[in-house]
Amino acid sequence: MTQTFPKQDAGASASSSVFAGRMARARRLGGGRLASKASDGRQLAALVVAVVALLAYGLAGAANAATAIDIAMFVTLAYSWNIISGFTGYVSFGQVVFFGFGALFTGELIIHAGMTWYLAAVVGGIAAAIVAVPVGIVMLRLRGIYFALGMFGLAYVVSLLCSRWSYTGGSTGLVIPGSLAQNQVLIGLTCVAVLAFLVNAYMARSPFGLRAMAVRDDEQVAEAMGVRTMQVKVTAFALSALLPAIVGGFIAYYRAFIDASSVFDAQVDLQVIVFVLAGGIGTVWGPLIGAAVLTIVNNQLSDNLPDWQLAVFGALIIVITLYLPGGVASIFNRFGWLRRDIIRGPKRIRARDELEALLPRADDGAGATGELLACRDVGVAFGGVHALQGVDFVIERGTSTFIIGANGAGKTTLFNTITGLVKPSSGTISFDGVPVGRSGPHALARSGIGRTFQIPRPFESMTVWENVLAGALGGRARGSAVRYAEWVIRVLEMEDICYDASATLPVGHRRMLELARALALAPKLILLDEVMAGMSDEELQRVRSAIRQMRSFGVEAIVGVEHVIKAIVDLCDEIVVLDRGRRIVSGPPEEILRHPEVVRAYLGTAEED
């Protein structure tokens, strides 16, 4: 199995050279990441400085306090928006609905229940998070600009309803009893802002954050890697409802008067979006920088240039867009500060035998026999086009099967149907004795179906390591996922590219990444969609060797799609031939290659081979 591989490095010297290479690479690539505690310390120090500066300024006088409250409010709103829109990729134009909800809810609690203001605000926040769950389940089915507009519409509709309903103040508004407690509100808001920062920092480095970013980069692939996408999205959505609602409650108490049109003001949302984009979307420090700086600029403008405030602000936004498209955080990143420091890789990738001692052995699949996957009379229709018709076949444990057929024969559709991305319009598929039926793609992935995609679809904002880890996290706890991901990297000998940004990989490496990510899921059945297309000879050998080794990953059966027949004859036990959505024949390779119908339909003329 290793004769074609470069000699495998082992021991400490190799690891230290890997680490040095990675340091060099991390400087070169934006996606790189240094696993040092020093960076944590610096960030914490920066946070403390920011908080002290805000409080020192804000507590110095009444006029200062108003500005400081504005800053703390917008920083929190910016961080909240960053959770759902920056990290999870669902850009919302209507998160202000939760700000308004919190304000009104807190107002009612103070007026009718006489609750203390900060307790009321926290209760309001929790209520908003609870309400956000069903709202999210519905709204997060919308995609892209529709989700953005849908949220805008939702905020608008809620605002209209509240402005007509006397209980929420109607058109006259609510007066909230309380004293002018600027300093207390400022301290409360600062606490929430710090909490918002911590949530963002958590998003940037936790397995949950990694799953959210997988959803952002490619939701379909995330599903196929076992990410419960809806759960992740709704959780992120609830988090980005909780914090604005608490802020809304504080602001309601602070202003002592609220009405629907001011607390549901769409302008607030649009400003928050611009703040985050200007600071750097999807970064930990961007929202803070953007919101703090632009809030100050905006306030200055409204004091000094009230007539042209909007225009100057608008021009500023355009300048930032054109000359700083990554936001202010991208300047700092250029110098290596504030660099994204996501889920920490291990300090060094441990040696293979060291890992194997830690990992539970996955050799139980080696001797298993019997039926793993069965497709019976499967048909798929898109509109009037029958992509698959009456496809029957059974995959036995311990076998590898390749599907061949011309372009458009339905090979990829078959894979999509097996993995649950496409629902069959007729027939049944059962995996491991359980009908696939209604399970979503993530449930199937977790039950043991791994796949690669024909056109490699890495999570582009992540490094190779994070991609593999995202696969390994499907159904595993963090510790064992890290070990397993390390092991996969070792076995596939991808140490050299481990910390490269996946977006810039050449095609051959992208395919290796697809394979590694699918294997990191530790599937029982792996579906390989043209993994050998467009590869160099050396890469081809690596993939072939990986396919031969699949048993050691616990893979019980392999199903592949391939065009290069020569590359697979010695790898497979059975070939299934598809033609225009139908299975025309199947059997052992020698038999299939001589079959007259196959020769005619797939290989072209009989003389050719």
Binding site: G89, V91, V138, M139, R141, L142, R143, I145, Y146, L149, G150, F152, G153, L154, Y156, V157, L160, L161, R164, A266, L270, I273, V274, L277, A278, I281, D307, W308, Q309, L310, A311, F313, G314, A315, L316, I317, I318, I320, T321, L322, P325, F382, G383, V422
Partner: protein, 287 residues
């Protein structure tokens, strides 16, 4: 009979919405630029016609002047701002959103400086046509007629002229279009100026039928987005049906349930339809 009148008024209102959406359908649907300044173009166009009318220039002549002016402004905006955004895909979409948001601030500010925040309208074509017991205001009919003509013109331009096809090709793949001898810069410049001119035209019709003010810009932007989302992005026939549907549902529900529902109707429609038909109401069901 009352319902028929309400329904027909809704259909006529739909004609307006269609014209509002036309320009955006070109800029967003075809060219892929999330233009949040669209509503501001509409309002400034309308207010421009209003000012010309104050100086004794007939609104229809004013329409021509304003459309030309908007086309020039659109070309400048495209050249100075949009063209300089280099990113593509999701990132490009976000940046164009941000830049046009900045533009809308500038435009609204200019509008407020020049015209103030009061609502303005031109009392013109106030008479009504009676058909049986049904009554249609002439300004609405003219508006719908114009919307229909412009829709047909745009549709023909995009599908059947060299320039229109060049624009579609450029939006789909600028590199590919370049290798076919199209100048992508020029195609996009023309596209954006046509979109801006259409927005200004919608503004002129708007100012004839209802009072407008700079601060309403965002509302018009959103309605335009809703209409093209319903019809399927970049789909002209779909947008026409979407606009009529929004207008009809809005007036009917407003008549039946009151003004809150009337204002909420477009958004509720958007959410419901996108949940069940994510590619728009009239898109062919694909994979």
């Amino acid at each position: 009979m009352v319902y028929l009148q309400v329904l027909l008024n809704g259909v006529l209102l739909g004609g307006f919405y269609l014209l509002m959406a036309q320009g955006l359908n070109l800029i967003f649907g075809v060219m892929g630029i999330v233009n949040l300044a669209h509503g501001a173009f509409i309002v400034l166009g309308g207010l421009g016609v209003y000012s010309l009318d104050q100086r004794g220039i007939n609104p229809f002549l004013g329409l021509v002047i304003v459309m030309v002016a908007a086309a020039i402004v659109g070309a400048i905006v495209q050249w100075l701002v949009i063209e300089r955004i280099k990113a593509t895909g999701k990132q490009g979409e976000l940046l164009s959103l941000m830049a046009t948001f900045g533009l809308s601030y500038i435009a609204i500010n200019i509008g407020q400086k020049e015209w103030g925040s009061d609502f303005k309208t031109i009392p013109y074509l106030q008479s009504a046509v009676h058909v049986g017991s049904l009554r249609f205001s002439v300004s609405l009919l003219v508006g719908v007629g114009l919307a229909a003509v412009m829709t047909a013109a745009i549709f023909g331009w995009l599908g059947h002229t060299r320039q229109g096809k060049s624009l579609v090709a450029t939006s789909q793949n600028p590199l590919g279009a370049g290798t076919c001898g199209i100048n992508p810069l020029r195609a996009r410049l023309i596209g954006f100026s046509v979109g801006a001119a259409l927005a200004a035209a919608a503004g002129m019709l708007l100012v004839l039928t209802q009072p407008i003010a700079p601060q309403l810009s965002t509302n018009y932007t959103i309605i335009a987005f809703v209409v093209i989302a319903l019809g399927g992005i970049g789909n002209y026939a779909g947008a026409a049906l979407g606009a009529v549907l929004v207008g009809a549902v809005q007036t009917l529900s407003g008549y039946q349930f009151g003004s809150v529902i009337q204002e909420a109707a477009p958004y509720l429609m958007l959410i419901l339809i996108m949940l069940f038909r994510p590619n728009g109401l009239f898109a062919r069901q694909g994979r």
